[in-house]
Symmetry: C2
Subunit: 210 residues, 2 copies
């Protein structure tokens, strides 16, 4: 693996561990085992490394939100979908933890992230609408209710890992993640058919997407 790839990998690791704002180019270079000069040979500045990481996040995000989301939506597929989204949020946690700080200093990234977020929330809405069309979800408030579910689940999803870290949980366990998924699911559950909900809960408890 070339230095460029190793720099990207080190940056992701360090920013996840320490937070994006605490990781400088000198440190990235040292921990990668290259010189600062070499880092600036591969990237024109620090922002460009973060952009590259965002490219990867974006790709994986699009993939996760579309791969398993094919009607009909049985409990296993829905559970697998949520497990994957939480795994993604974990692997790029530096981004979701410090989003606002990152976006304030980088208008280009801000615009890209806002697009991703809009698309993500809309996609969560489509999934909920799909479950409703399958006859497994009934929201008394119709389209507005579905939109609220989408936004409510987005807020919990995008902030769950940050919440764990703020709470002082240093090494996050599998159980902390399933707790988050169940927390997210509590928002949707009141509108699901009871057997359907139970089936999803069981899938969540028994599997974990690596």
């Amino acid at each position: 693996m070339g230095n460029r790839e190793r720099i990207i990998e080190t940056t992701l690791r360090l920013m996840n561990e320490l937070g994006a704002e605490a990781v400088g180019t000198n440190r990235i270079a040292t921990e990668t085992g290259v010189s600062p000069g070499n880092l600036y040979y591969h990237f024109s500045n620090r922002e460009e490394i973060v952009h590259t990481l965002f490219d990867a996040l974006e790709d994986e995000f699009h993939d996760v939100l579309q791969r398993d989301v094919v009607r009909p939506l049985p409990p296993e597929r829905i559970a697998a979908f949520y497990l994957r989204t939480f795994d993604l949020a974990w692997r790029y946690r530096f981004f979701f933890n410090g989003t606002l700080g990152l976006l304030r200093r980088d208008p280009v990234l801000a615009a890209r992230y806002q697009g991703l977020q809009r698309w993500g929330i809309a996609e969560l809405g489509s999934i909920a609408a799909g479950i409703a069309e399958d006859g497994n979800l009934t929201h008394p408030r119709g389209a507005a209710g579905i939109a609220s579910l989408a936004l409510g689940t987005w807020l919990i999803w995008s902030n769950w890992i940050g919440f764990l870290q703020i709470s002082g949980i240093t090494d996050i366990q599998r159980s902390d993640m399933t707790a988050g998924i169940n927390q997210l699911f509590d928002v949707i559950a009141p509108y699901l058919e009871p057997e359907f909900e139970a089936a999803i809960r069981e899938c969540i408890a028994n599997q974990w997407a690596p």
Copy 2:
């Protein structure tokens, strides 16, 4: 008003506008209209200013979560309570937006914040339990369900303003805040008596705690 108070005020304003990590002591001093030396006469370091702001947040937080929370809990009191909590989150938004970054560099603050958070979530649970004892809320999952409501509403409350800012909304309107309160309420609503919910929604729409 003395320089000490003006420094605190300026710090709160700047950190809310620009994010805590972007605000240095030089800038605080300049915008307050005092010298860096004078700032360090009043505070031994930058952390101490943030601690002082946290003291104020803590006081107001305890006040808000206890003042209006006296049984029985009629719709007006509940609505007023939530309006006040959102107002608080707005006035100290720098803290909730960049919590993790702040806590990583300041273990003392981290411990204090974790205590506040634990207490806040427990208090939200007590409020929900109080509504249930008044006969206006029925959660099929009992105590576990109440705990989930408390955590779910905490997550939305503490992240709503950050979400607005990340979304690119620069000047937050009253309507953006009521949208957040309604979003938070959507988590509780499925378990409320319908007339009770309607009464709260109307209070939320019609008042605003300054």
